[in-house]
Symmetry: C2
Subunit: 324 residues, 2 copies
């Protein structure tokens, strides 16, 4: 996505917000603002990708603040809160058993595609909540009500069925902490589907030696940026055992900058039968990169710039597959 005029003030607002997270030194905050305006002035060009400009501005901010992870505590709270709310989210995804608990993937009586669709929806709704920032806790009725209403409304764009047909080699690019807890459910279902398919293909390999061996690769940020998930979160949430491999974007870029990405990550994206791109930053990085396809953009439209680029309204739940 090319930078939108709206991104300029949203970016400065975010810079100010993150300054306040780490310091109450007004002079330092003023200095960071000044330097970031200067960087924005140097970098701003309507023909450039929004996340490239955002990355440069955030890096300058981190330098001035002398802090390269302003959201460290927020991210921990986000994961913790999302985990506390997980049982109720799992009930929505898999249904409730006779003990009043959530079904598992295996025990759920509903078709697998329904669990997949609901898990993706939960992960997309999770993309809306900035748990720590919103001061949510596990008992927060507001969260449950809002989550319920989003869940009931369902997708505004729903390509989950088409996604289901492309799950042989998946690259799943995460966005924020917090929601990553619900991404984990999607990953578990993808792996489950792959294992079913894998058995099938193994049986067929004798007939077709070119059959694809299923693979699930998780890609997180290479270093802290905003509230985005990194390898630390993958470790703490035990996600390494679900994915076949965990790679990174290679840097603290907002979204991904190809020039900074490890060759292995780029190769995985190239080989994938489906890239699943979570959140707005990944969308901004990848929406114009037409060679990176097929891709499914999973997100809530939380800003007008992204909504406009998708040609839809704000506040929508999206699972949009782009084949080419």
């Amino acid at each position: 996505m090319k930078i939108n005029p709206r991104c300029t003030y949203c970016l400065l607002s975010r810079i100010h917000y993150q300054c306040n997270l780490v310091t109450d030194d007004a002079d330092l905050i003023n200095k960071a603002m000044k330097e970031c305006i200067s960087t924005l002035n140097d970098e701003y060009d309507p023909s450039r990708t929004s996340t490239h400009i955002g990355t440069a501005v955030h890096r300058r901010c981190f330098e001035v603040l002398g802090n390269h992870d302003p959201y460290k505590e927020v991210k921990e709270i986000n994961n913790q809160t999302a985990l506390e709310l997980l049982p109720s989210v799992q009930k929505k995804i898999y249904g409730v058993n006779e003990n009043g608990e959530a079904h598992t993937i295996e025990s759920s009586p509903q078709p697998l595609e329904e669990s997949f669709e609901k898990a993706v929806l939960a992960a997309v709704i999770g993309n809306y909540f900035d748990f720590g920032v919103m001061g949510l806790d596990a008992t927060d009725e507001g969260f449950k009500l809002l989550f319920d209403s989003f869940f009931e409304k369902g997708f505004d764009i729903n390509d989950t069925k088409e996604m289901m047909n492309r799950l042989q080699k998946v690259v799943y690019m995460t966005d924020n902490c917090g929601e990553i807890v619900y991404d984990r459910e999607v990953l578990k279902i993808i792996k489950h589907i792959q294992q079913l398919q894998y058995t099938k293909i193994e049986n067929e390999t004798e007939k077709n030696p070119n059959a694809l061996i299923p693979e699930l690769i998780l890609v997180v940020r290479g270093a802290p940026i905003l509230t985005d998930a990194t390898m630390k979160d993958v470790d703490e949430l035990g996600m390494k055992s679900i994915a076949d491999k965990v790679l990174t974007t290679g840097s603290n870029a907002v979204g991904i900058i190809f020039e900074e990405a490890p060759p292995e990550t780029l190769k995985a994206m190239e080989d994938a039968t489906l890239i699943i791109s979570k959140g707005m930053a990944n969308f901004e990085s990848l929406s114009d990169e037409k060679s990176v396809r097929p891709i499914a953009f999973l997100l809530r439209t939380k800003c007008e710039a992204v909504a406009e680029a998708l040609g839809i309204e704000m506040g929508q739940s999206v699972a949009k597959l782009e084949i080419e």
Copy 2:
């Protein structure tokens, strides 16, 4: 008020908003954003007054757009809407007579200080509404409900009694169109009070030849900026007959920049027994100018930067007198 980090993104957001008012040419909007970021970068200095920086950025925007009055239509709608809502506001200020209509200043049974306080409150609440932008019309129940609730809540800072004792030589600096219709009620009451005092003083002049002859001077912007009132509005709303004199700030500065103000305006401010400064822009221009006193700041705290500078919360109704 010194520029606050928040002002930077608020300003760029406002620039983008006003670009969209006058054009849908994306290239022109991008150019205006780029030029305004550059001007902001040149001008930003935490030790400078927010409105000085805002003025420079807005002027650059007007230049690029080739339009020096982007809010022309909005201002007309604002005045028109405020006029349509005036009868209900007058009832709140003066009370209702036996015919169900609003009392006049003269017929109102309540003490004059009560009419003054209520008129100032209405004018301050008017400062909250950007009528055209909010899509209000005369039948809008939302406006009436919100106005009622603000009116019922009253002032959070109320120095109207102390203001009443200083009305001999008043300079009244207006802010936006729309609310200026309610400012007119305040001006009428001030003039009424002055006429009562004038009679008294005329009788006393034989005894005291140095007694002040009351004067009511209205100051509007010297040229269009934002939705602020100019001489055109004063003419159209018949306000020349209420004030003894109407002066201007001498330019399209946000608030007032002394270097650009006519000597007559500066002299009037110097001689005033009370300057009444309406709205946030005038507050930002004058809060640190301690020589411009006594001054009464009438405003709603619509942004955190101004609320913080006043040491109060957002969304408060303020009539704050500063003697020195």
